[in-house]
């Protein structure tokens, strides 16, 4: 079973308007990689030229910021988990 990746409205400009994408991958990083593979417009936005993850990428795992988990991007994901790609953090 694939993991569900929800795409926030503002980010759908990079996924051809699609709001929910099934992705493969045992970790958040792998799931994100699969998302970028499916939607090439995301590739250069999620990763820099050396392949490192862009520091302003915001992903939630079951409504929690993935970077707050101990394993961060290497956090394992199960079939029942819901990921969400959001615009970068603002506020303050």
């Amino acid at each position: 079973m694939p993991v569900t990746f929800k795409i926030d409205n503002e980010m759908r400009q990079f996924t051809e308007g699609v709001g929910t994408v099934p992705v493969a991958g045992g970790t958040v990083a792998a799931a994100l990689g699969d998302l970028a593979k499916q939607y090439p417009k995301l590739q250069s936005r999620l990763y820099n030229a050396t392949g490192a993850l862009n520091p302003f990428v915001m992903v939630l795992v079951n409504d929690e910021d993935v970077r707050t988990f101990d394993a961060e991007w290497e956090t394992p994901v199960a079939d029942t988990d819901v990921l969400e790609l959001l615009p970068p953090t603002s506020g303050g």
């Binding site: 936005r45 970077r67 707050t68």
Partner: protein, 425 residues
């Protein structure tokens, strides 16, 4: 007056965008910042022209991003820079100043600076509904300034915010929504609301313009020091934008010829130990902060677990030779009391944090005792009275009779404060 801003520039890739209500670069998600034609500003601005204007933040109008004249918050800014001699003596330092935005108009925090720019810009963009995600001070300011401007306001706050900050928002007739969650969760909700409803959220889609208002705190500090920069600034950090904008203000003043000497000020950041993503980032020498999922501190105004400018604040602190520290809730309360007792300034918890961190940095030797220091006080203690309630002794009560006072005065231990020295002619 012409608009000297030239557009919005991505802080990562440098790509330029037009002046529009948006906050991030679609190419790399980098935050956008207002850019200016400094060569043109240099020709248009002078110390004499500035000092001839009313003492408020708009005297630096050339370096603020409006097309027309400001329509919101015309009296904001112009707060005192206080020479803090008694506090300096207690801290054992030579020269100490307090930039006191606890008395900013109209809502007693530095947020009036950013909001007046954001709402003036919102009007230029044609928004009739505005909003914000807030830890309290911003909520007060958006509500008050929107009321004065006749704009409808939707204010989102964590539901557990201090009562005074919620009251101080609702009183202005704003639509206040308490959200059961952290500030960061409130903020993420607001991002969705802002783009879905196409409202002007000051710290989301209007954020590049909004943040520029913070520069005026830096302009005022330098002007009040006699058109020069201090050696050290200690600044509270929530989203991390203020510390960067004060430094940007100094840099701009040099760039446009208002201050001759280049900026060498060391920028120091202050946070609460219960929410310290930026100070932790600096101390651990990491490039990027690790967000705090559940902040836990009495200093709610700084309780942002995922600061939008965290990366930039940490980098600035390192690049200027400053440092960052965090302090416990007990130290924050002690800081609030010390500031009040020595200088007559009742600051909110963020002010207690700033003073307590400054003490720590002085004791660590990171701020030399013979160098000039400015503490940025950003909000008023009347909004966070509960935090010092337990630390304040309740006054003794007597009958209205001189004998009762005589007895009380003779027994100094029963007074809540030390017996004062009698002044004799």
């Amino acid at each position: 007056m012409p608009d000297f801003s030239t557009g919005l520039k991505c802080r990562l890739c440098g790509k330029m965008y037009g002046k529009q209500p948006t906050n991030f670069c679609p190419d790399d998600f980098g935050p956008l910042e207002v850019a200016y034609d400094y060569a043109a500003v240099r020709l248009a601005i002078s110390r004499a022209a500035i000092t001839a204007r009313p003492r408020n933040m708009w005297r630096y109008r050339e370096l603020l991003p409006l097309e027309g004249e400001p329509t919101v918050g015309p009296q904001v800014g112009g707060t005192p820079l206080i020479r803090a001699r008694r506090l300096a003596e207690e801290l054992g330092v030579k020269t100490l100043w307090i930039k006191n935005d606890a008395v900013n108009f109209p809502t007693l925090s530095f947020k009036d600076r950013v909001v007046s720019v954001a709402l003036s810009k919102a009007r230029e963009f044609g928004f009739t509904t505005v909003g914000c995600a807030s830890t309290g001070n911003l909520a007060n300011s958006v509500a008050a300034n929107a009321a004065q401007a006749g704009l409808e306001a939707f204010i989102f706050v964590p539901a557990d915010l201090e009562r005074a900050k919620i009251l101080g928002t609702s009183v202005f007739g704003a639509n206040v929504i308490g959200v059961a969650g952290t500030y960061d969760e409130v903020n993420r909700l607001c991002t969705k609301v802002a783009f879905k409803y196409n409202w002007g959220f000051v710290n989301i889609n209007l954020r590049p313009f909004y943040a520029e208002g913070s520069k005026t705190m830096g302009f005022e500090i330098a002007e009040d020091l006699g058109w020069r920069f201090p050696q050290h600034v200690v600044c509270p950090m929530a989203g991390g934008a203020l510390i960067g904008k004060i430094h940007k203000a100094f840099t701009e003043m040099h760039a446009v010829g208002l201050v001759d000497t280049p900026v060498t000020t060391k920028m120091h950041g202050a946070q609460a130990a219960g929410c310290n993503p930026i100070t932790d980032c600096v101390k651990a020498n990491r490039e990027r902060h690790k967000p705090i999922r559940k902040p836990n501190t009495i200093c709610k105004s700084l309780a942002i677990g995922d600061p939008a400018d965290g990366i930039f604040a940490a980098k600035l602190i390192r690049n200027t030779g400053g440092w960052a520290e965090d302090v416990t809730d007990e130290e924050i309360v002690e800081g609030m009391l010390q500031l009040a007792r020595t200088e007559g300034v009742f600051a909110e918890t963020a002010g207690g944090t700033t003073l307590a961190v400054a003490k720590k940095l002085i004791e660590q030797g990171r701020i030399p005792r013979d160098e000039e220091i400015v503490l940025c006080i950003t909000g008023n203690g009347l909004k966070t009275q509960d935090c010092v309630g337990e630390a304040i002794e309740w006054p003794a009560t007597i009958k209205p009779a001189i004998e009762e006072f005589d007895a009380l005065y003779a027994d100094a231990g029963s007074l809540s404060h030390a017996k004062p020295e009698l002044v004799t002619a």
